[in-house]
Symmetry: C2
Amino acid sequence: MSIQERKAREFNRRESEILNAALALFGRADWELVTVEEISRKAEVGKGTIYKHFESKDEIYARLALEFNRKLLAQIQQTNLLPVIARFREMTRVAWEAHLSSKELHRVVLYCGRAEFRRNLPARISEELKAVEAATNKAINSAIMQGVEEGLFPRKPLDMLMFGAQSAFWGAVQLIWSGYLNERDKARYCDEITNFILTGLIYQDRRL
Amino acid sequence: MSIQERKAREFNRRESEILNAALALFGRADWELVTVEEISRKAEVGKGTIYKHFESKDEIYARLALEFNRKLLAQIQQTNLLPVIARFREMTRVAWEAHLSSKELHRVVLYCGRAEFRRNLPARISEELKAVEAATNKAINSAIMQGVEEGLFPRKPLDMLMFGAQSAFWGAVQLIWSGYLNERDKARYCDEITNFILTGLIYQDRRL
DNA sequence: GTCGTATAATGACCGGTGGTCACTAATCAG
DNA sequence: CTGATTAGTGACCACCGGTCATTATACGAC
């Protein structure tokens, strides 16, 4: 049934168009006020059509975040052959680049990270998001275990080792985008936070 | 004019009642769905009364955040006589305690930190928030300068030194409340992040 | 061709929300 | 007593996310 296939293709294309239209609108300063009707106009479809493709406005956010996380995961997994310090630097650089290169996507990913958001998400999408996040954590865990085995990081529970590193990274990205910091030298901030994280991991159980 | 004073006192008391009612409702799991009318019912006033006291719903959030930040600032400023490491530990502990002891207030403070929120805030409140934040930053800066002068932290731009520390703290608090972590040992997480921050500050320019 | 079927697409419509405003009630100065 | 001021009020408005009856199109069966 080639015609049915074509129809399915067109259906999927329309879905992408809607997502792209939404993402484009989320570039606006008042992106949280973007309405479903605006998205439908930008995508050149009727408002009802949106709801043939997505259960809710929130699912649009979630699908965009999912796509972002999948791409990031693939990049992070590709660092697995590097020596441990270079691996951390590369993972941080890749994630930094991903979050800093698109204000729209960063906003959406952050928006979808909140517990209040996750609670009301359709189960299907929620599971997908959890799966990608679990895979990402596994990749980071693997890097940390590598560091522990090489004697670079102290031997202690993995979640505690992860905690500081993840905190610093997420906090840094958010500080950047929240506008308090100097826009000029984002690259330097990346270097700073990468060093900060590695330093924390390596020296955290030394006496102060 | 004792009677006018009494009236003013009652007006202020009503304002506090509204803020308390709002804060109580923000403890709900779906706190973002709390409506102005619900707040007015809880405070036992008419809905219109809310708008005699606050320009918008957002101003209610902002006023709660302001109160939180003021109390925190006062506590942070009281650490100024401690030796530098103890000072940092105490500052972190106090801020940690403030954020972790009330889910409602933490939510509100975070909600008010977003750039999108700040943009639409009435100028008066916005200035007040900025002032408190500036004072808080000044207090932290003073502690960091103390560390630099004692030769404990490396000599480099203050904002770069602050960056890692603030990132790690904010990221940690958010990770805790986002629900990914174990609720049991919040105290241990506090110790971890405090060490992580101090380690980062002290060793961040060592060779890795 | 033509009829019945399936389904993507649509926009008028609904319930609920933040915010407004004309009005009431209480108090005060003259 | 009278006019002015102001806290308090809730019916009302514009607008939003989401629904659903209807339309348009393409298909296979005959």
